[in-house]
Symmetry: D2
Subunit: 335 residues, 4 copies
């Protein structure tokens, strides 16, 4: 089997993690690491296994690597991914794919023209809990889905280039798209910038779907507890996916309200089931999908078009946010 | 000490509870119980202690009772409370006070003219956990308050006369008014009617305050778990009030994010404190306040003006809901 | 249906609870309450429904009541129950039945001679969670039972007439006997008196059964948390019964270790199931069983022979405790 | 600073973990890895940084390494540590130090004669939660300590060379010795072999101390839940240390029972405090202590004498177990 060689651009939080996971796969080598900040690369020089480091990003594009991992701030994703694709490299870019819809559309088109894999780091699509949840949704066991409540809150970490919606909501939006395979029709946002001016740190997104399903996403950098939870409410069953509780990641509640004539509503209360989930590190599965897609010429699960869909929803949320700020569409309380 | 005599109108869920608590107070008698449904009164006839029952509501007003408890559907609150006040009775009415602002204003004015106590059953203002929380807020220990997240969700019980906002949000609105003593300036609602047409069963309210504080209220009849939680995020400390966890009702997190020049944001992580709360049944304290206010001619904590404030916020929420339905103020996703 | 009349002896913690539950049953009257302490009876005089109160206990035996409830300190159980039976009264006595085996044997024999019901207040035999657990054990779904771990700990309340074993362990012993229907062969105790001299406040009991099953009971008045938990470990499944968690009272773990040749042990990890339990107040079911047994001349579930079995285990535990104190059967650490 | 070179014997669970932590320290190299099973070493050959692997254990002793890590089955600890010390190597051996007291005493003496560091892998002595707990105990804030309850239970992993006491209890014994700095006087064991004949898989240890303090240790390979908890009950405060809950590792309960004349016992209920703990990987701190002790010629925290103390308690437990099997010191239930 041919050795695949990769370059990693950006040696901050995600770069080293993805590099370590790629390296753990058979016949895969991380050959280059690039970062504008030489200090970040210092720890790498000790390693004697032929790894090249550089502060000149373009060197990665000119090298002989097969694929490039882009783990840099969002605003640079488009330009770096474009360069990589133009040099014929396969690309895995951290989420969100780009900072606006047009750039995402262009990258998707370019990847197709160049015959390169374009993939986005939507890790939760590779999370075994989310995949069990998806099986459950698609089996029909939950019945008709009424609504979804997603929460992703914690203290920090503040980012100054993007607000909390662009930082945290990509996870929940990619989970929703992956679970249900349908695009919301409308997005309404209620967001507030408490700590830093004009950088929203608490936000509530309301997504409306054509079939009446609603989804609510709560993201926050200002919360005392770490909550990562998705609750799905079907007319037959309800499920809570709690990413912070490995031993009880999915809880399936066999309960619900049923409509009748008299009395109009009755209630069912049945057992709770917690399926066992065979855990594999999501980032490892993500890296495997990237490598296998390159080897087999197939589309990865979190491909560019999925990344584009997520950016569409984020852009609609951002537009709703601006609209909220410019128009008084709210109801003042009469005095 | 003079014996106080009370009549209770409505013998459903709250009527018997309030009657039992009133009866447990010294020198207090529940003398009459009225309900349109004679079957509900059947269980009471066995009691030999002179209690009168009737299906003719007006009999209560004509009787010699000092005060009347109104525990009936919301749409009847105004008319029953008005009649009671006109007959010179002190009134304790279940929450919300009325179904609209005008009626609430009229009752408040009438109570003043008649020199009667008008009180609303905002039980949470008498909850020892909420009172400990209020002390904490008012001590300044939390610092500047950024935002509040309130959740009150569970499966059921559906009501057909009012939506989930009018059913559950009065609790959270009265808690917020009681804690902070200030009125929100704006209310925005995202609500959905999933089970029954046009009766919203899931709602998110966003309250904006003049000083930049925001509050978010999530109420739902469609949720697998019983959650009754208020999270307050201050710049010095954060608190979670969990009404379903008696042993750890308040959790005070000494943590936060601070603004600096470089790095712009730093984080503090300190101890969590869980104060001991001496528990007394809130409904008992509420009944005591009603009785003491009558005896001493003082204003009860949850007086008519507080009830009016809560109705103002509910009415603004309802208006936002209608606006949401009639105008497309949301952002459609570009295709 | 003939009215049944009861007398209650002892108006402390359990007396009023049992009286209220008896009164709530159709055609049942609590006609007399007796307590040596007149102050405890004061609150009852206000009640105008013909209830008699007395500080002369014998008055209850001479009255026309059908049955007597004995809710007094353990040391008085034997004499009071004996008197009641001799007067032809049916008897419900709080647990444990008596303070030693001989007295319990005598009461069981006397009840038979007199043709009276003798019942013990083993409330947990009427707990819907315990009954669901019993169905599970008896269905064979758990497989062969290896061992049981029972915990019943909390801060307080100290008693000065009996140690923590006699106070708390009757619950767990009656649960074990009820679940498995077999008597332990041996009892070994490790207990300590920390707060008051010679009154053990922390104890661990080890019960050995003929078939190799073991059970461990941990009872304590000195613990920061309220724990009431029974864990049953079968070779097919394991269950945790947590009496303090109404929403998840039983958790059935489909997991275990299996013996093979190579590797010798393998592990199974499957789903967790939490059955829905229809809750009825155990004390109400206990009172119903007492009343029905009297009416129908049948044996109640928690009958005198069951009470005797529990006393046998308690007495063996007490003997082990004395043995532990008098003999040095422990291993000193070599210096 | 001089480079320190280490050899690791045993490449199973702990060997690679310790090696990785040693390697992460400045000026430290893992130069040799030895294991009798060549397959385990296979994954290491790829590494090009001069690491030597061997299936001949003695090669490590003859090499120029400064220290040896022994991460092999317990029965081999003594002989391997002895050889290493005789060759003048510093030694870190996994817990428990040896399989009996005599061997442990000999190793401690030999290390002294040879002027070598002898250290045992009692990781929990390096756990930041345990260290915070120790500060608490030693500050006197808990008051007089009445008793300790330690639980360490989970499903698996079964070992066939040693029972669950020798496998899991070393952790709790080393924690107790570290927290209180005193040796128990007596050890009593109640243990059962459910799955494999004569290998106890469930055990309860009762430790008695000269000053009346008692400690109870529950270890099990047969339990549905992973519990790692130590509860300390003082007359002023109580603490729960829960190793499985990083966000609330220590919970300090300001509650207790106090002795009076009348009423004899009263109860205090105050706040709960959860201190923030700055987390560092315990194994890293353990490896640092090993390296620093070698460099500075000082005694490590988990030195040989501490390891000997733990073995003393284990040996007493084992003796109590044999005594339990051979003598009938228990109380049979009378029929």
């Amino acid at each position: 089997m041919r050795e695949l060689r990769f370059g990693v651009i950006g040696w901050g939080y995600w770069g080293p993690k993805i590099a370590r996971n790629l390296e753990s796969l058979p016949h895969v080598t991380v050959a280059m690491v690039a970062d504008l900040d030489a200090r970040r690369l210092a720890s790498l020089t000790a390693s004697p296994n032929g790894l090249q480091t550089t502060t000149e990003i373009e060197a990665v594009f000119r090298s002989d690597v097969d694929g490039v991992v882009i783990a840099t701030p969002v605003r640079t994703h488009y330009e770096l991914a474009r360069q990589a694709l133009l040099h014929g490299k396969h690309v895995l870019v951290e989420k969100p794919l780009t900072a606006n819809v047009e750039e995402a559309e262009e990258l998707v088109a370019l990847a197709e023209t160049q015959g390169c894999i374009l993939m986005v780091g939507h890790t939760f699509e590779y999370n075994p809990g989310v995949n069990e949840l998806r099986k459950l949704v698609q089996s029909g066991d939950l019945g008709k889905i009424y609504c979804v409540e997603a929460e992703r809150v914690n203290l920090g970490l503040y980012r100054q280039d993007i607000n909390v919606i662009w930082d945290l909501a990509p996870h929940d939006i990619s989970i929703l798209l992956y679970l249900f395979g349908k695009r919301p029709e409308t997005v309404k946002v209620q967001a507030h910038a408490h700590l830093l001016p004009s950088i929203q740190d608490v936000a509530h997104l309301d997504l409306g779907f054509a079939d009446g399903m609603s989804a609510h996403i709560h993201v926050s950098w200002l919360h005392p507890c770490k909550i990562r939870r998705v609750t799905i409410i079907g007319d037959a069953r309800m499920v809570v996916y709690d990413d912070t509780n490995p031993a009880e990641m999915l809880k399936i509640y066999n309960k619900g309200a049923d409509i009748h004539v008299d009395p109009v509503v009755s209630y069912r209360f049945g057992a709770i089931t917690i399926p066992h989930i065979d855990w594999v590190e999501p980032l490892r599965l993500e890296c495997e999908d990237f490598v296998n897609s390159i080897r087999n010429g197939t589309e990865p699960r979190a491909n560019g078009r999925v990344g584009l869909e997520v950016v569409r929803v984020l852009a609609a949320a951002q537009a709703s946010l601006l609209q909220q700020e410019h128009h008084v569409s709210v109801v003042p309380i009469s005095l």
